[in-house]
Symmetry: C2
Subunit: 247 residues, 2 copies
């Protein structure tokens, strides 16, 4: 198995999701091939960053304004490479919007979450994807462009009001207030997608907090809930990392 | 905060315990000092090893027989140091029996779990410690010597039969068969310690699986159950790492 490098801490619960998922995949993989003895596990290097630093050093519309933050990620990627990581992933959606700048000079392949989701959708015959994520995700076209390479047409909630409603749901989940979150997400979706639209659209939960709204049901790459098909972006990305790790 | 280095993967659930605990401690610490904005988190470098390799390369009674395994750990510690870790911990009890050999040439302090537990007991007035761990822990004197520096008298289950019973409980927990494990642990303890002994003895759950027997109650440094005082070695160690991180 190839050594896996992970950029973590953005945020830390997401790092646990990726690490646990990949370890469980290795257990299942080795059980299926009837490996005896202690289960082989991929080696990992993980660089867990300080989200306070990344948030406080977020740039604006000028590309130069991102240099401190980009360098922070680039240094962490270099450390993973120096520690022998052969494939690398950033365990979070939002930082992918500047993946090209952040992975400058890194030789090991950095597996983009956009590519993982695009390839998953392509394989599953999903052509339309509603993306629910953080504001930096929903106000740039990187996600849409990334999955379009796989013939997937992605879009975000269409109004500022709906985007703000979603951010409020995410903030509540971040503080572990699950309450009616799954219903709130569903209402938000049905607000602008008809039943007919929903038959040919999957909903990508593109930030770590959102799947929490669905409890254990949300802990898989794809699941149905009240007739809506949801994708868990972390699981799809982690699954792609493990597939590459054993390839 | 100092950058934390962790050796993980021995086994992987334990790595999650340490990482999650330290992140939660940072959240609590910054909430208590009324920090506003995104919670600062310590940076981490984690080297997660392959437990199949460590088990298959275990040595025997001759010191030379451990060189492959010791080098594996030493290389990982070096990587943590090269990635800027300022304090390091191995997220597991068992590998500590060869900590001296494994940390040769490492400049950053490697916080021993024996010292963390010894200091904890000393502070809490615990002088007698029954240690329940894996066979490599219970058949060497490293744990006993380690905590004796803090005036703590540690001992293991006294017969081979009791040790084997304990290993069976651990193996069942490893496969997530919790069933009657907390009662089985209690029976094993009461088998050779009287109520009078138990009044002046704490029981150290010195492998990651054992606290699982007690559910959520086990997810803290110390807890009482049916009149017995238990210590969770992972939590005590992780707490010591965070204390050093902010010192």
């Amino acid at each position: 198995m190839k050594k896996i490098g992970l950029i973590g801490g953005i945020g830390w619960p997401s790092t646990i999701e990726y690490y646990q998922r990949i370890c469980e995949l290795s257990q299942k993989y080795h059980a299926d091939i009837q490996h005896s003895g202690p289960t082989p596990m991929p080696e990992f290097s993980i660089e867990s960053l300080d989200m306070n630093f990344t948030v406080n050093n977020r740039g604006g519309s000028s590309p130069d304004s991102w240099s401190v933050c980009d360098t922070y990620f680039n240094n962490a990627l270099r450390k993973l490479e120096q520690s022998g990581a052969e494939i690398i992933a950033i365990a979070s959606v939002t930082p992918h919007s500047r993946l090209k700048e952040r992975s400058q000079g890194i030789q090991a392949p950095v597996l983009s979450i956009y590519d993982a989701i695009g390839a998953y959708c392509h394989n599953m015959g999903i052509r339309h994807l509603l993306v629910l994520g953080t504001m930096p995700t929903m106000t740039t076209t990187h996600f849409i462009k990334g999955v379009s390479n796989h013939d997937v047409k992605a879009f975000y909630p269409e109004s500022e009001e709906l985007k703000n409603q979603l951010i409020e749901i995410i903030n509540n989940l971040y503080q572990n207030n699950v309450n009616s979150a799954s219903r709130d997400i569903e209402n938000l979706i049905r607000n602008f997608l008809s039943d007919t639209d929903l038959k040919q659209t999957a909903v990508c939960l593109a930030c770590t907090e959102l799947p929490i709204a669905f409890g254990d049901l949300g802990r898989q790459p794809q699941f149905m809930y009240n007739g809506i098909s949801y994708l868990n972006s972390s699981f799809i990305h982690a699954d792609a990392v493990f597939a590459e790790c054993i390839r």
